[in-house]
């Protein structure tokens, strides 16, 4: 089937979205942007295609009269098994890489001993792996580096001590290897991994009543995902290995993405790590106007990160803490540099920590309100996207201020709003392949496009 990929290369994460010919989302993928944009782009794309397979499995499985819960349970088990397979594969790659690094002068003394330690560490890692993906197990991250890294360091400390091998040597090997492995996406064929995962879940006794799951999965795997078009966007878009005509600004993609998620959207606010954008779109998702924070990055997501660092807290802890306050302190400085000083000054004056944190949330939303105002205000409906949209305290202040300044407005916040830009990019790819530069719903029924116009739009 024909698919359309949108890649959003952000400063911290890279997102990919896969659409089908009817603009349905087939799959989504995300990865950390790393220093290597090419890999990030490939990994996110791969993740989106994996996700797309699950969508296809679901379509195949949902043909009978089984309950959705049954299908969900099966697919969940299948996904866990698949992730485990993927993890094991990368673990194998990491082990091989680590072993290959055991050479040179520093290992002259006891290369064999180190080799044994490494092998033992990986044996233990592999043994632990199924527990990581057991039902209900919580993982602190889905990125391989985070999962494998901390356990490698913990296990190797014990193993190295017992074997009387210098711990730093073992760490050093890991450090040298992980980046290479991370930048080398799993090489095994996806279908094979799906099949091995399927074997695992069948062995565990999972199934969907009345459905030949093997046939369904094989049917779905047989569908070729042809990449018909791709469009890249995001801060790193200029580094994407795409031809220029396949690159769109993140403003345009964001506007179109928000339109696809909530077709009645007229105003979009996106607060990301590095910038804040206010975007006005028309009834077709076309950008009418936009404003971004000026040269100064005051009031972007990074501001909250900085505050969290100042307070020695996790970023995700800020929102809940702010929610405990019902009278935010008045913080006037959204300058990231001054914020720390203002924070300490106020704490020293005895103001409540919760009120100050709530005030800081209000401050960045006030700043965002100015950017929206600059771009032309808020017209119903209003869609809020970006990392800060996940922060309940920020959302609370936003709702208050929107109501005070623009009255009753529908506010849309999608938990998956991080994919907004990639979604818009994928839709650009789809439209371009369908020969429509502007959205199809502008055309009257059976509308024809003038030939000479086609030329201009191409």
């Amino acid at each position: 089937m024909r698919t359309y990929v949108g890649i959003d290369l952000g400063s911290t994460t890279t997102k990919a979205v896969l659409l089908d010919d009817d603009a349905n989302v087939l799959g989504r993928g995300i990865t950390n942007s790393r220093s290597n944009y090419d890999t990030a782009c490939r990994v996110a794309g791969e993740e989106a295609r994996i996700d797309a397979r699950f969508t296809l499995f679901r379509r195949k499985l949902a043909t009978g009269d089984q309950t959705p819960a049954e299908v969900d349970a099966f697919l969940e088990a299948l996904e866990r098994a698949f992730r485990l397979e993927q993890f094991l594969e990368q673990l194998g790659d990491l082990e091989e890489t680590c072993l290959s690094k055991i050479e040179g002068e520093q290992f002259a003394e006891d290369a064999g001993g180190v080799r044994e330690v490494v092998a033992e560490v990986f044996r233990q890692l592999r043994d632990e792996a199924p527990a990581l993906y057991a039902p209900g197990a919580s993982r602190k991250s889905d990125f391989f580096r985070d999962l494998a890294g901390s356990r490698y360091l913990a296990i190797s400390e014990d193993v190295a001590r017992d074997a009387k091998v210098p711990y730093n040597l073992v760490v050093n090997i890991y450090d040298k290897s992980i980046i290479a492995v991370e930048n080398r996406p799993p090489s095994g064929r996806l279908s094979e991994k799906f099949r091995r995962a399927l074997d695992r879940v069948l062995a565990e006794g999972h199934g969907v009543g009345g459905v030949d799951v093997v046939a369904a999965v094989e049917d779905a795997l047989a569908i070729e995902l042809e990449e018909t078009g791709q469009v890249g966007t995001g801060y790193g878009r200029v580094t994407l290995p795409f031809p220029k005509e396949n690159i769109r600004s993140e403003i345009l993609c964001h506007g179109l993405g928000a339109h696809l998620m909530y077709p009645r959207t007229r105003t979009v606010l996106d607060i990301g790590g590095q910038d804040t954008k206010g975007i006005q779109i028309d009834e077709n998702g076309i950008v009418e106007n936009f404003q971004m924070n000026d040269r100064c990055a005051a009031g972007c997501g990074r501001y909250l990160g900085y505050i969290a660092d100042e307070m020695n807290m996790g970023l995700h802890e800020l929102g809940p803490m702010a929610m405990q306050s019902d009278k935010p302190a008045r913080i006037n400085s959204t300058c990231t540099v001054f914020a720390g000083a203002e924070l300490r000054d106020r704490l020293a004056l005895g103001e409540k920590r919760t009120d100050i944190i709530a005030g800081l949330h209000r401050a960045i939303i006030l700043r965002a309100m100015s950017i929206i105002s600059r771009s032309g205000g808020i017209t119903d409906e209003f869609t809020f996207t970006g990392g800060v949209a996940k922060n309940e305290a920020a959302v609370r202040e936003l709702r208050k201020l929107v109501k005070e300044n623009y009255g009753d407005v529908t506010i849309n916040i999608d938990p998956d709003s991080i994919y907004t830009g990639a979604l818009g990019a994928a839709e650009f790819a789809r439209r371009s392949a369908h020969g429509i530069a502007a959205p199809s719903d502008v055309l009257p029924e059976g509308g024809q496009i003038d030939d000479d116009m086609m030329g201009e739009m191409a």
């Binding site: 006030l366 700043r367 100015s370 600059r374």
Partner: protein, 404 residues
Amino acid sequence: MTTPARKPAPNGDPAAYRDALVARAQAIFDDLNFGEARRWKEAEPGRKVVGYLPIYVPRELIHAANALPLGIVGGGDAIEVIHGDAYYQSYICRIPRSTIELGVSGRLDFVDGMLFPSICDVIRNLSGMWKIMFPHVYSRYFDVPQNYEDAVGGNYYIAELAELREDLERVTGTKITDEALNNSIAVYNENRRLVRDLYALRAKVPWKAPAPEIFLILRAGLVLPVEEHSEMLRGYIAAAEAAEDRSLRDNSRVVLSGMFCEQPPLNLIKSLELAGCYVVDDDLLLVTRWLIDDVPTDGDPLANLAAAFLHHSESTSSKYEPDQAEKGKYLIAAVKRSGADGVIFAAPSFCDPALLERPMLQNVLRDADIPFIAFKYAENSGQMQPIREQAGTFSDAIKLWSGA
């Protein structure tokens, strides 16, 4: 809207009366809806209010049209600026943002006219923005001459005043007669005399008339009818001088410079005194004492106002100094007059006039061996620790230096 603090009456206890006057001034200061001015306007049908920005406008003309001059000096640190920021880049000062916020939020919806004096390009351009944003409000850029010859700048200014007079007659529907204008000049002469007395009192006994109180009492004059403000000034001067509840502390005495447009937060002025500096002179709210002598109350009032402007007015950065030898001498005069030990340059961030003038003033002070420090603020600065730190160090240094 805040309930107005009751107009206090003298009751025999000067400290209590002084405190009551300050509390009233504070309430006026805190009221971002200008309740006092609104009530004045509503009290009689047909009354008009004309707003003006810093540094100087001839309030006599507005007064003579039976209208209320309303001083607008931004929104301070208590206003949340949402729409105002939408009109300005990060490198522009705060006062125009909060002023627009006051306008957009309806807090100035009772104001019939706005005057924008020639302070700098930001306020100048704000005059045009006001015309676009509030087309039904009379607004005017109030240009003043930078040439101080009677036959040149003087004639220009007289003609400008005449135009303004006609405009105000149109806005207020009241003919401004020479007689009414001369009368208004007399009323304002009185008010300016009282302000000068207030400044003299503070320079003499700064512990009795501390800077934050002086600031609040002056700020009340931007909103209250001038007659009422004069009464407040008289009451405060007498009560503050008579009250015996405050004693001299071992503070240094400083002149503040650079605050003629965007106002510092009240907290900043308080912080300076807490840090050990008596503020004995400043360039806050210059409109209250711009003309330094009485303006004659007979003859051609416009010519008299023009002559006063050309030859008997304060100096500040927005005014050209034709004579290099005189450059910055106004600050030395303020130091001498008030018996100050040093100067604190406190300028609003991005304030062109204050910041471009500052190096020249500092050179003049250096030549005169007057110590100084400098920092920047914004009307909504929330962070006073560095300011207390700097002012405290400066004060200690001055004391050591003068004791040595």
